[in-house]
Amino acid sequence: MNHLEQLPAAWQAVIIVMLLVGGVFALVGGIGLVRFRDFYMRLHAPTKATTLGVGGVLLASMAASAAQGTWSVAELLITLFIFVTAPVSANLLAQAALHRREPSVAPPPPEQPLR
């Protein structure tokens, strides 16, 4: 990785910050996927991994290629694609879980008077 160490210090700082953000959020998403108690809570955890985790890593990649003088559009394509498709698949999974009546640990809503 000699090519990264020869970059200017400002670019290196940007890339380091993006890498740390991406790694930490990917890890948080994985831990949440393991630790949460029912499916509807677990649906919440990987959204962090998809938006900030992959977003941070892809921004680091864009910064790395921009610092070497070649602006590339492929990372932007991947980011856009993942940002568009992640809510769709999460919505579909939530619909499937509701359809299958998966158990939830949430308390039932309080009784509302009829109006």
Partner: protein
């Protein structure tokens, strides 16, 4: 020679994404319900995209981005197909 900060950050990010992939695999194997397994598979795909992009940064080549885009596409299509299967009982009516 001590490793530079940027290579340390790259190694940290690779390790974090790798551990996240392992946690997703644990949920995929263990998951009590079927939507849990599909969700774990979806998250595993997203983490694999991040891992492949990190490898691309480390080796300084743009060849990995096509692979990452393909993995993202296949992950979305497979998640939609599996979710539709869980909901309707078949994928294409």
């Amino acid at each position: 020679m001590t490793p530079s900060f940027i290579s340390l950050a790259l190694v940290f990010a690779l390790g974090a994404v790798g551990v996240a992939m392992l946690l997703c695999a644990w949920r995929l194997v263990r998951g009590p319900t079927l939507p849990d397994r599909v969700l774990a598979l979806d998250t595993l795909y997203v983490n694999v995209v991040a891992f492949v992009v990190l490898l691309g940064i480390q080796q300084g080549t743009g060849l990995y981005f096509e692979a990452a885009l393909l993995i993202a596409l296949l992950g979305f299509v497979s998640t939609v197909a599996l979710g539709r299967y869980l909901q309707r009982g078949d994928v294409i009516e």
